[in-house]
Assembly symmetry: C2
Homo-oligomer: 282 residues x 2
C-alpha cells in the first residue's frame, strides 16, 4: 500500500505543485492531530463512493464540533482538477482528502472561529494483493473508550505502531484488540469472520471505524440472505471460523490466509462477496 503521492495537490481548492505547497506550522492537524481524513479509490477517472466518504467526514466533524462546509460538487471538481494536473484524468488513482481544524493559537481548546484546511492529493492506486495475507494479533490496543476510535482522525500512530509490530514478525497486517480483549480491526481495515454460513464483524462500540466497504459488504451479504451479526468477537474465535477477511476502501475485500501462523479456512462465501463487490466497482 506504499505509493508515492503525486506532484500537484489542492489546498483549500487551490492547485499547487508540491514544492510550493506549505501548511501553516500552527495547523492544529499537525500540532494536535485535530482533523479527519478519507481515502478512496478512483476507477478509470470515477471516484468510488465519494458521497459516502464525505458523509462520514461530515459526521466526524460534527463529533469534533468542527465546521464542515465541504460540498460534494466542489470536492468532485477539485479532485478532477488534481487528477488532470497529475496526468491521470481517466485512470485509476487513490485519493486522500484531509480536513484539519486549521491554524490556531497555542492550547487545546479550538479557536472560536476556526478556518479549516482541506487538502486533496492523488496517488497511483496500488493493485490488490495477489496472494492471501498473513496477519498477526499485536499487543497494541484500540481505544474503545474514545469516540475518536470510531472516526478517521489524523491520529494514526497506534495503527503505524501496530503494523510495524506485525511487519517485524513477518506478517502483512496487524489485528488490534481493544482494552477489553475483543477484536476491533486491522491496522487499515475492518474485519469479518465467516462462521456457519453467516458473517460476524466487531461492534462499532468495540472501537471500530464504520468502514465504507464494511457497510457495503453488510448490505451485499443481506441482499444474498446471508446473516450478518455485529457483535464482540474474541481473538480465538477468528481462528475457529470458516474464514476471515478484511475490508478497506482502496483494496476492497482481502482474505486472510493465516493469523499468528495458524492457517485460516477459505470460505467460498468470501469469493462470492468479492465477485459481487467487483461488480459494484465496474
Amino acid at each position: 500500500m506504499k505509493q508515492e503521492q503525486e506532484e500537484v495537490i489542492a489546498l483549500n481548492g487551490v492547485l499547487m505543485r508540491r514544492g510550493e505547497a506549505g501548511v501553516d506550522p500552527r495547523d492544529r492537524g499537525l500540532m494536535l492531530g485535530d482533523g479527519l481524513f478519507e481515502t478512496l479509490p478512483v476507477y478509470a477517472g470515477r471516484p468510488f463512493r465519494l458521497d459516502d466518504h464525505l458523509d462520514r467526514m461530515r459526521a466526524g466533524a460534527a463529533v469534533l464540533a468542527m465546521p464542515f462546509t465541504v460540498q460534494v460538487e466542489t470536492v468532485m471538481a477539485t479532485l478532477r482538477a488534481v487528477l488532470d494536473a497529475n496526468g491521470r484524468a481517466a485512470q485509476d488513482a487513490a485519493i486522500r482528502i484531509t480536513l484539519t481544524r486549521g491554524a490556531g493559537p497555542r492550547g487545546l481548546l479550538p479557536p472560536a472561529n476556526p478556518r479549516p484546511l482541506l487538502m486533496i492529493a492523488a496517488s497511483p492506486l496500488a493493485p490488490a494483493p495477489d496472494r492471501p495475507l498473513a496477519a498477526r494479533i499485536v499487543s497494541i490496543r484500540r481505544n474503545e473508550g474514545s469516540p475518536s476510535a470510531q472516526l478517521k482522525t489524523l491520529g494514526y500512530l497506534d495503527n503505524v505502531l501496530a503494523l510495524a509490530e506485525a511487519a517485524a514478525l513477518g506478517a502483512d497486517e496487524a489485528i488490534l484488540c481493544n482494552n477489553h480483549g475483543n477484536v476491533a480491526c486491522a491496522s487499515r481495515a475492518n474485519l469479518f469472520l465467516v462462521r456457519g454460513g453467516a458473517l460476524m464483524t466487531p461492534l462499532l462500540a468495540d472501537g471500530v471505524l464504520p468502514g465504507i466497504t464494511r457497510r457495503i459488504v453488510i448490505e451485499l451479504a443481506r441482499a444474498f440472505a446471508i446473516d450478518v451479526v455485529e457483535r464482540s468477537i474474541a481473538p480465538e474465535a477468528l481462528m475457529q471460523g470458516d474464514g476471515v477477511f478484511m475490508t478497506n476502501s482502496l483494496l476492497g475485500i482481502v482474505p486472510l490466509a493465516a493469523i499468528n501462523d495458524r492457517a485460516i479456512a477459505a470460505s467460498p462465501l468470501i469469493k462470492r462477496l468479492t465477485d459481487a463487490y467487483r461488480r459494484l466497482m465496474a
Copy 2:
C-alpha cells in the same frame, strides 16, 4: 493556557517568519500524527529542564523507531535565536519543540530513510491560574493499552475532546480515566492525590505520560520524607483525600478546588511542595 504563537519559528534550525514557513503536506506528523512534542517554560531567558524534555523525546523516538539526532546544544542555540528574533531574549516564554518523522510516501509504514522535521516555536508564558481550578471527570478514556499513552505524541485529539467536554460543563480541566476505570491524568497535566500525609499518583501503566514536573514533585516529596506511591487510583478516591493537584511543565503545581462540583480539601502539603518547586524555578 491559550496564547498566540510568535512570529519567528525555526524549521530544522532555519529561522523563518510565520508567513514564509510551510510544512510539507506529506509530512507524517500531519498525515498520521507520527511525531512527538515537548513544551517547556523559559524563565528570564533560561529554559527550565530542557535536558529532561529532550531525554523524554529521545526515549519516545526510540519507542517509535524514529531517528533522533537532536543535540541539546543545538536546540539551546536555536531556541535562543527564536527567543531573540521574537524580542524576548531575557523574558519568560513557553517553548514548543515538535519532532515529526518528516515527509513520506503514502501508507502507514515509515520510509526506510526518514528525514525528521524539527520545529521550535515560542509563545508568551501564560501566568499560573490565580484561583484553584474545578475539574470534571469526563467520558473519554485514556488508552492504557498503547505505548503511545506514555509518550507525548502529536495525537492529542482525545485530550482536546476531553477538555472541550469539561469546558462545556463549566469546568477548567478534564480528568480522564482509562478503559479499566482507573484515573489516568488531566487533559494537559498529571494528577496527584494527597492522603494521610502521603502522595499517590497513577501508575504509568494506567496510560500516563511520565511528566517532567511529575518526576520533580516525586523527588521533592521524597526529599521531604513524604511517601509517594505510584498505584492505580479509583476516581472516587480523588474526592475522599486531603487534596488533589495537577502538575504540568508550563504551570508547575496547580491545586484542584473541586471535582464534579464536589469541594476538594486543600492540604497544606500542596503549599509546601509548591514553595519548594518555585525555589527550583528561580
